[in-house]
C-alpha cells in the first residue's frame, strides 16, 4: 500500500488554522500593514505584465503586416522609472517598520529566556525562577522582551500570528519584542531546519491577562507536590530519569531534557506531538524511537509496571 496512514499519531491534539494574515500582536499589525501594501503593488504589477503579454499575443500573433514597427525608446524611461519609484517607497516603509517592530534592546532585561533544543523549547522566567517547556505562558497588553538562545544547532522562533520570526543561534543572544493583543492560545513551529525531528518541534504560547499570568507564575514557582505516595517518584530517581530531567523539590536535577516539575498541567507532550495523558506517556517511555525517531531520550527497557508507575507519577505533577 502506498500510503501508510498515520494511526499512531491520531492522538495528536487538534490545532486550529492560524495564518500570518491575522495580527494578534502589535508587531504583526505593523508588519501586515506593509505586507498588505506590498501585495497590492505586486498584484498590480503582475496584472500589468499579464495584460500586456496577453494583448501583445492577441494583437501580433501570426501578424501578416510586412514591416514590424519598433517601440519608441522613450518607453524605457517609464519602464525603469516606475519600478524604481515603487522600490524607493517600499524601502522607506521597510526601514520605518523594522525600527518600530524591533527597537533597540540594549540595557533592557528580558522577561522570558527561551532556549531551543533538538527538538523542544525551554522557557525560563528570570524574575521568578520558573522553568517550563514547550507551552510558554506570556502576559497580554504588555511589551515583553524575549531573549532567544540555542543549545545545539540553529532553531527559529515563529508564531505566525505574532508576525516576525527570529533565529536562535548557538553562541549568540538574539532578542524579540512582543506585545500580544488578547488572551488565547497561539501556535507556532521551529522554522529553521534543525535535524531529524524538525517537524515535531511545535510551540504553543498561552497568552493570559496579567492577573492569570501572575497566578500561573506563582503556581509554577512551587516545587513539585509531595509525591511520596507514588511509587513512581522513587522509580524516577532510581531508574536515572533525574540525570536528564529536573523536578523541582526532588533529587531530580538534570538539565539536558525538559523540566518536568509541572508536567501534568501541560496539554501536550514532546513539543506538540501527542496529547498529554497517561497512555501516551507510557508509550513514549516504553519506546521513544517509535514515537519520535531520532529523539535523544534513550530506551531504558523498563518493564510495564515500572513504566506505568512513572507515567502515573508524572501525570500527577499538576
Amino acid at each position: 500500500m502506498l500510503f501508510v496512514w498515520g494511526n499512531l499519531l491520531k492522538v495528536s491534539p487538534d490545532i486550529p488554522l492560524q495564518s500570518v494574515l491575522q495580527s494578534s500582536s502589535q508587531q504583526a499589525e505593523e508588519i501586515n500593514r506593509v505586507t498588505n501594501y506590498f501585495f497590492i503593488a505586486a498584484g498590480f504589477i503582475l496584472l500589468v505584465v499579464a495584460v500586456l503579454t496577453a494583448y501583445v499575443l492577441y494583437k501580433f500573433r501570426d501578424n501578416k503586416k510586412q514591416i514590424p514597427k519598433p517601440l519608441s525608446s522613450k518607453w524605457e524611461i517609464a519602464m525603469i522609472g516606475i519600478p524604481t519609484l515603487l522600490v524607493a517607497i517600499f524601502l522607506y516603509l521597510n526601514i520605518k517598520t523594522i525600527n518600530l517592530v524591533e527597537p533597540d534592546h540594549k540595557n533592557e532585561t528580558p522577561d522570558v529566556i527561551i532556549t531551543a533544543h533538538q527538538w523542544w523549547w525551554e522557557a525560563s522566567y528570570p524574575s521568578s525562577n520558573v522553568i517550563t517547556a514547550n507551552e510558554i505562558h506570556l502576559p497580554v497588553k504588555k511589551k515583553i522582551l524575549l531573549k532567544l538562545l540555542a543549545a545545539d544547532v540553529i532553531h527559529d522562533w515563529w508564531i505566525p500570528q505574532f508576525g516576525n520570526k527570529m533565529d536562535m543561534v548557538p553562541n549568540q543572544e538574539n532578542f524579540l519584542w512582543i506585545n500580544i493583543k488578547k488572551p488565547g492560545e497561539y501556535y507556532g513551529v521551529c522554522s529553521e531546519f534543525c535535524g531529524a525531528q524538525h517537524t515535531h518541534m511545535r510551540l504553543k504560547v498561552v497568552a493570559q491577562s496579567e492577573e492569570d499570568y501572575q497566578n500561573w507564575l506563582l503556581q509554577h514557582q512551587q516545587p513539585a507536590m509531595n509525591a511520596a505516595s507514588f511509587g513512581g517518584a522513587q522509580l524516577f530517581i532510581s531508574k536515572t530519569c533525574g540525570n536528564c530531567h529536573r523536578i523541582n523539590g526532588t533529587a531530580a536535577r538534570g538539565t539536558v531534557g525538559p523540566d518536568l516539575t509541572h508536567l501534568g498541567s501541560r496539554q501536550t507532550l514532546l513539543a506538540g506531538l501527542l496529547e498529554n495523558n497517561i497512555q501516551n506517556l507510557e508509550n513514549w517511555i516504553k519506546d521513544p524511537q517509535q514515537i519520535k525517531p531520532g529523539a535523544y531520550m534513550p530506551d531504558f527497557h523498563l518493564d510495564d509496571s515500572t513504566v506505568k508507575s512513572i507515567a502515573v507519577y508524572l501525570n500527577s505533577l499538576k
Binding site: V4, I15, A42, A50, P70, I95, D167, S191
Partner: protein, 548 residues
C-alpha cells in the same frame, strides 16, 4: 578589442576515436560533443532529482504520513536541492553555453578544448561522488545550504556531508574552469566584425556569467574546504560546541549562493532574448539596456547575500543596507520583462513550443520575482522566510525562470544540435501538462506558507486545509512527471525519425544557424564578416540589412 579567428585550432587537437562510440565520448574535446555530454548528464540527474521530488510529494500528500521515515525524507530533500541546482541547472546551462557560444561568434572551437573536457568530467564525477554517499552510509541530510552546526559530526554523523563537500568541490572546479574557457573564447575568438556591441545577447549573458562564476565559486570552495577540515581533521571553523561560528558558514555560503541564483538565471535571460527575437521576427527592444543592466546585476549580486539572513539577528542597520541593495537589483532584473514584451510588440509572433515556454516564463518569473522583492522587504521576510512561501518563491524562479529556458532552448536548438525537429504537437502537450502541473504544485504552496507551514518538514499535523492544499500540490508534481515522460518520448521518437532538409527551420538571425544542422566537425568552412547584431539575417536579406 581585437577580434581574431583561430581557424587552425583543430590541428592541435588529439585524434578522436571516431569509430568507437564509447572511446569517442570519453576522449572527445569537441565543444559540440562536450555540450551534448553536459546536457545528457543534466538529463540523467534531472530524472533522479525528479524522482526524489515525487518521493517527497508522496510523503507530503496527506497529514501524518509514514511513507518515508524522517531521516530518509531529510536525505531526499537535501539531495533534491543539491542535484537540481548543481547537477541539473548548472550543467544544462553551461552545456548550452559551451555548445552555442563558439557557433554564435563564428569560432570553430572553444579557446581551451582540453580544459573544456576536463571541466565536464570534473562536474560529472562530482555528481557521481555525491550520489556515492547513498552506498557509503547515508546521503547528506542538512539541506542544500547545509547550515552549521547541523553540518558538523556531532549532529550529522553519517559520511553524507563529506560527500556533499567533496562532490561540490569537484563540481566547483569544473564550473570555474568552464567559466575561464567561456570568457577567453568570447574575448579572443570572435569572427571579424563581431564587436562586443554586436554580440548576440546569449553570448553577452554567457560572458557576464563567466565572471560571476569565477568570482562567486571561491567563497563556496573555501567554505567546503573548511567544512571538510572540521569534519575530518577536527578544525573548529563552524563547530559551535568548540567555539566556532554558525553564522560564518551562512556568510560564506550566501556570498556564493546569491550570485549563484544569477548564475542560473543569466544564461536563461540569454536564451529568452534569442527566442523572443526569432519567434517575433524582430530585433530585441533595448539591446543596450539588456546587456548593460546584466553587467549591473553581476556587480550588485555580490552585495545582497545577507537577505538570506534577515532572521539571523544581525541588527536593523545591516538589514536595512541589504534590503536596499536587494531591492535595487530587482529593478534591472524586472525591467527586462518589459524589454521582452516590447520585443514582441509589433512583431510576427509564432507560438511554437519554444516560444510558449518563453511567454509562460514572463508570467511565472514575474510571480517569482515579485515574491523575491517581497523577501527583500525585511518585515515581510521576517514573517515568511523558511516557510512554504519561500519554497514557492524559489521554484517560481528556478523552474519558471531557469528550467523553462532550458525547455525553450531544447525546442529551439534541437534542430541545430541533431538535425531533427521535435514534434510540435507532442511539444504542446508537454507544455500544457508541465505548466499546469507546475502552477498547481507551487502556487498553492504560497498559501501553505501564509498558513504557517514551515519548509523542510517530513510531515504535518492535520490542520484545516493543510491536507487539501498538500494533496493538490502533490497531484501537480505527478502532472509534471507525466509531462516529462511525454517530452522524453518526443525526444526518443524524433531521434528515430528522419534528418530534416531545412537547416534553418525558424528563420533565425544568428551565426549558429549559418553552420550546418548538425554542424560538421569543423563548424564553419567559410564565414562572412559580421557587420551587425544579426549576421545571418543580413545574409538572407542583403537588400534590407541591419546597421548596428
Amino acid at each position: 578589442m581585437k577580434a581574431i579567428l583561430l581557424d587552425n585550432i583543430e590541428h592541435d587537437l588529439p585524434v578522436v576515436h571516431t569509430d568507437k562510440k564509447i572511446l569517442y565520448w570519453l576522449s572527445t574535446v569537441d565543444h559540440k560533443a562536450i555540450g551534448k555530454l553536459y546536457m545528457l548528464a543534466a538529463l540523467l540527474f534531472f530524472i533522479i532529482g525528479g524522482i526524489e521530488a515525487l518521493l517527497m510529494r508522496t510523503q507530503l500528500a496527506v497529514a501524518n504520513n509514514h511513507f518515508l521515515p524522517p531521516d530518509a525524507y531529510n536525505q531526499i530533500f537535501t539531495m533534491h536541492g543539491v542535484t537540481m541546482i548543481f547537477f541539473v541547472m548548472m550543467p544544462a546551462l553551461l552545456g548550452l553555453t559551451v555548445y552555442l557560444v563558439p557557433l554564435m561568434i563564428g569560432a570553430n572551437e572553444m579557446a581551451f578544448p582540453r580544459l573544456n573536457a576536463f571541466s565536464f568530467w570534473m562536474t560529472f564525477f562530482g555528481g557521481l561522488l555525491l550520489y556515492f554517499s547513498f552506498a557509503a552510509g547515508g546521503a547528506p541530510n542538512a539541506g542544500w545550504f547545509n547550515y552549521a552546526p547541523l553540518n558538523q559530526n556531532n549532529y550529522s554523523n553519517s559520511p553524507g556531508i563529506n560527500y556533499y563537500a567533496m562532490g561540490l568541490l569537484l563540481g566547483g572546479i569544473g564550473s570555474v574552469t568552464t567559466a575561464i574557457n567561456i570568457i577567453v573564447t568570447i574575448l579572443k575568438l570572435r569572427v571579424k566584425g563581431m564587436t562586443l556591441k554586436r554580440l548576440p545577447l546569449f553570448v553577452w549573458m554567457a560572458l557576464v556569467n563567466g565572471f560571476l562564476i569565477i568570482a562567486a565559486m571561491p567563497s563556496l570552495n573555501a567554505a567546503l574546504s573548511m567544512l571538510l577540515l572540521d569534519r575530518l581533521m577536527e578544525a573548529h571553523f563552524f563547530n559551535t560546541d568548540a567555539g566556532g561560528s554558525a553564522l560564518l558558514w551562512q556568510h560564506l555560503f550566501w556570498m556564493f549562493g546569491h550570485p549563484e541564483v544569477y548564475i542560473l538565471i543569466l544564461p536563461a535571460f540569454g536564451i529568452y532574448s534569442e527566442v523572443f527575437q526569432v519567434f517575433s521576427q524582430k530585433k530585441i527592444f533595448g539591446y543596450v539596456f539588456v546587456a548593460a543592466s546584466t553587467v549591473a546585476i553581476g556587480l550588485l549580486s555580490f552585495g545582497v547575500w545577507v537577505h538570506h539572513m534577515f532572521a539571523a539577528g544581525l541588527g536593523n542597520t545591516v538589514d536595512s543596507f541589504f534590503a536596499a541593495s536587494s531591492m535595487l537589483i530587482g529593478v534591472p532584473t524586472g525591467v527586462k520583462i518589459f524589454n521582452w514584451i516590447g520585443t514582441m510588440y509589433g512583431g510576427k509572433i509564432r507560438l511554437t513550443t519554444s516560444m510558449m515556454f518563453a511567454v509562460a516564463f514572463l508570467i511565472e518569473f514575474t510571480i517569482g520575482g515579485l515574491s523575491g522583492i517581497g523577501f527583500s522587504i525585511v518585515p515581510i521576510d521576517w514573517q515568511l522566510t523558511d516557510s512554504y512561501f519561500v519554497v514557492a518563491h524559489l521554484h517560481y524562479v528556478f523552474v519558471g525562470g531557469s528550467l523553462f529556458s532550458v525547455f525553450a532552448a531544447l525546442f529551439y536548438w534541437f534542430p541545430k544540435i541533431t538535425g531533427r525537429q521535435l514534434n510540435e504537437r507532442s511539444g504542446k502537450w508537454f507544455f500544457w501538462l508541465f505548466v499546469i502541473g507546475f502552477n498547481l504544485t507551487f502556487f498553492l504552496q504560497h498559501f501553505l506558507g501564509l498558513m504557517g507551514m514551515p519548509r523542510r518538514v517530513y510531515t504535518y499535523q492535520d490542520i484545516p486545509y493543510y491536507t487539501l492544499l498538500n494533496l493538490l500540490s502533490s497531484a501537480g508534481a505527478y502532472l509534471m512527471a507525466a509531462a516529462a515522460i511525454v517530452l522524453m518520448y518526443n525526444i526518443y521518437k524524433t531521434m528515430k525519425g528522419e534528418v530534416m532538409e531545412n537547416k534553418d527551420p525558424w528563420n533565425a538571425f544568428t551565426l549558429e544557424w549559418y553552420a550546418d544542422s548538425p554542424p560538421g566537425e569543423k563548424n564553419f568552412v567559410d564565414i562572412p564578416v559580421v557587420s551587425s547584431r544579426r549576421p545571418f539575417y543580413d545574409l538572407k536579406n542583403p537588400h534590407n540589412r541591419d546597421y548596428d
